[in-house]
């Protein structure tokens, strides 16, 4: 009887624990998605994070509107969360575009702005150039601030429309490219993944080869293994501090892509060494013997027979590493910085998605934006997961029959 009760109780606890774990997981992912999904769209992924002011030069040219009024009114491509519609839209023929007045909320400040809501086919904007004569793209949601020196601030939308219509010939328009996108963060993240793997993967694989194939078991090997285990357990902020002191300051790499990726590479090393070691250990001794018995050297045996067998294991290491880089924040905050820009060189700073999420949540209090970045991170991790699984299956020498 009492055994029945205790069995039942244990079972209940097991189910409860599973239930709690699952619901917490679902809750977190659900929360992130619900909070952030409203912001995730193509513009969000492809725009720069910061607004950019540019002067656009266009040749005014009357283009008539091809839409009826209702359709035009319906063209409000901007994001409702950020912009409150105030007036318009009004179509202006000499620039071939419709404009509207909105309260444009950029991060924490709220400003009234004139924005483009629709660009007609063959509009002069299609051939807009910047001051150096280079073509620039102008799209909906871009902010118009002045034309040929006349500033729009304080004007009603009708007055703005009148001002624009009155101009002719070459127009010099001050335009603000909208920000709020995470293109640079996505690219920085990819750079960071590639660079850190480029450094850590060969080092880790050669280290693992040394440990499993060359080192005589004993003190030294145990010490190296112990060091690697310890390294794996140290919180990444410590590596960040080291990276800052060593790469950023001592080697004078500055807060940059290279400082960040070298720091992360150190964080990755233990994971890569350990997974590769495990993978190498599972390669049957019979393959090594078979190869050596054919007069192959040890190095040939390792590179032609043993390593190819270990590829699935190494792919797992790569997968774990990617997750680690994408998820890393503390160390990168200190070594690669929080500048939302595409790093032009190895020595330029850049912020990864995770750092950016931290930054907008902490510094700008914008939880929605942070969650939207979170969604992108989750999707990237899932996609990379699937990709590396497919490649590791493809490369698995034991799969091919």
């Amino acid at each position: 009887m009492s055994r029945k009760v205790s069995d039942l109780l244990t079972k209940g606890i097991i189910y409860l624990a599973t239930g709690i774990t699952l619901s917490v997981l679902l809750f977190i992912v659900g929360f992130i998605f619900i909070k952030g999904i409203g912001l995730v769209n193509w513009d969000f992924l492809t725009r720069d994070f910061n607004e950019k002011v540019v002067y656009a030069f266009i040749e005014s040219n009357d283009v008539s509107l091809s839409l009826d009024e209702e359709t035009l009114n319906g063209k409000m491509p901007f994001d409702k969360r950020y912009e409150t519609h105030l007036e318009g839209p009004i179509y202006i023929e000499n620039i071939g575009a419709a404009i509207a007045k909105v309260a444009y909320k950029n991060h924490s400040t709220e400003r009234e702005q004139v924005v483009i809501t629709y660009i007609e086919k063959d509009s002069p904007f299609d051939s807009a150039k910047d001051s150096t004569g280079k073509n620039i793209t102008i799209g909906t949601d871009y902010i118009l601030q002045s034309i040929n020196g006349t500033d729009f601030s304080g004007m009603t939308l009708a007055e703005v429309a009148e001002t624009i219509s009155a101009e002719s010939g070459e127009l010099k328009i001050k335009i603000v490219q909208p920000g709020g996108g995470i293109k640079s963060n996505i690219i920085t993240t990819l750079y960071m993944v590639l660079l850190s793997l480029l450094v850590a993967l060969p080092l880790g694989i050669f280290g693992a080869i040394y440990l499993t194939e060359y080192a005589k078991p004993g003190r030294l090997v145990n010490m190296i293994r112990f060091a690697a285990e310890c390294l794996a357990g140290i919180p990444s902020i410590i590596f960040g501090l080291f990276g800052m002191a060593f790469f950023v300051v001592a080697l004078n790499f500055q807060i940059s892509l290279i400082s960040g990726s070298l720091t992360v590479a150190i964080i990755l090393l233990p994971v890569i060494i350990r997974s590769t070691e495990e993978a190498l250990k599972t390669v049957p001794m019979a393959f090594r013997e078979g190869s050596l018995a054919l007069g192959a050297t040890k190095l040939q045996t390792i590179f032609k027979v043993v390593l190819p067998c270990a590829v699935p294991g190494i792919a797992t290491a790569v997968l774990l590493s990617i997750g680690r880089v994408v998820g890393e924040s503390a160390a990168l905050l200190l070594t690669a910085g929080t500048v939302a820009q595409i790093p032009g060189t190895l020595f330029s700073p850049g912020s990864t998605l995770t750092v950016q999420a931290y930054y907008v949540a902490k510094e700008e209090g914008n939880i929605e934006l942070a969650c939207a970045i979170g969604i992108v991170i989750i999707v990237i991790v899932i996609v990379l997961n699937i990709l590396s699984r497919i490649t590791s299956d493809k490369l698995d020498v034991f799969n091919k029959k």
């Binding site: 013997e289 054919l294 007069g295 040939q300 029959k401």
Partner: protein, 252 residues
């Protein structure tokens, strides 16, 4: 010195740490003969075989003293181990084809020696497979993984792989113990046909097999060679009581 002697061991002792696995072995193995090693399991047959191409180098605890003379050279002395292994091939108890294509398995050894020419490799692969009586079965699937072959085919592939190195000696450690009778018969046929070109040394768990294929047989017991003689003599007229007990199945 007799020019027909391929291997000559003199007072060979082998230790795994403190455990002596081979005790004062003196044996002359002749060229282009099949020599079989029989004996109860754990008596040192594999250990001795693995001395002949220095596979025991892989085991750290192994200490060897005594001499193993191969074609007049001490294999633990000046000889290059890579060179030794190209001349003394080995086929293992469990078929161990590499997880690569059939073609690549055969081409592996020659490629490691630096052979790159595609035509030469093609010919070599074909010849080796023909000698191993496997060509007809695999000629249409050379680029398929060797792991898709049956156990017997895999073992013949391993033999073909060894033949591709054009060795002088082929060591075989119970090559049929993992195979069914039909596959075993094929491998035994193969050995008889290889005999004219190669010196074959085979460890076997089956006395019938030794009787069928070998010219000479050595009976091992607890690290010692009790008796080494012409196979018919070992099986019909053994000189030692222990050999007789073993071959008549009266052995504990």
């Amino acid at each position: 010195m007799d020019a027909n002697i391929k291997f000559n061991t003199k007072n060979l002792n082998l230790f795994y740490g403190d455990f002596q696995a081979l005790k004062a072995i003196n044996m002359e193995i002749r060229e282009k003969e099949v020599t079989a090693f029989i004996g109860p399991s754990g008596c040192g047959k594999s250990t001795f075989l693995r001395c002949l191409n220095r596979m025991n180098d892989l085991i750290d605890s192994v200490k060897i003293n005594g001499e193993i003379i191969f074609d007049g050279q001490d294999i633990n002395g000046t000889i290059d181990v890579i060179n030794l292994r190209t001349r003394v091939g080995m086929v293992f108890q469990k078929p161990n084809p590499f997880p690569m294509s059939i073609y690549d398995n055969i081409a592996y050894g020659p490629k490691c020696q630096g052979l790159k020419d595609k035509n030469q490799l093609d010919t070599l692969v074909k010849e080796s497979l023909m000698k191993a009586a496997l060509w007809e079965e695999v000629k249409d699937r050379l680029n398929k993984s060797a792991l898709g072959l049956s156990g017997g085919q895999q073992q013949r592939l391993c033999i073909a792989r060894t033949i591709a190195m054009n060795p002088e000696v082929i060591l075989m450690d119970e090559p049929t113990s993992a195979l069914d009778p039909i596959a075993t018969a094929k491998i035994e046929d193969l050995m008889s046909s290889l005999k004219k070109d190669y010196t074959i040394i085979i460890v076997t768990h089956s006395m019938q097999q030794a009787g069928r294929i070998s010219d000479k047989t050595a009976f091992f017991l607890m690290g010692e060679v009790i008796e080494f003689n012409e196979t018919p003599i070992i099986f019909t007229n053994p000189q030692d009581k222990r050999t007789e007990d073993y071959i008549t199945g009266r052995f504990g």
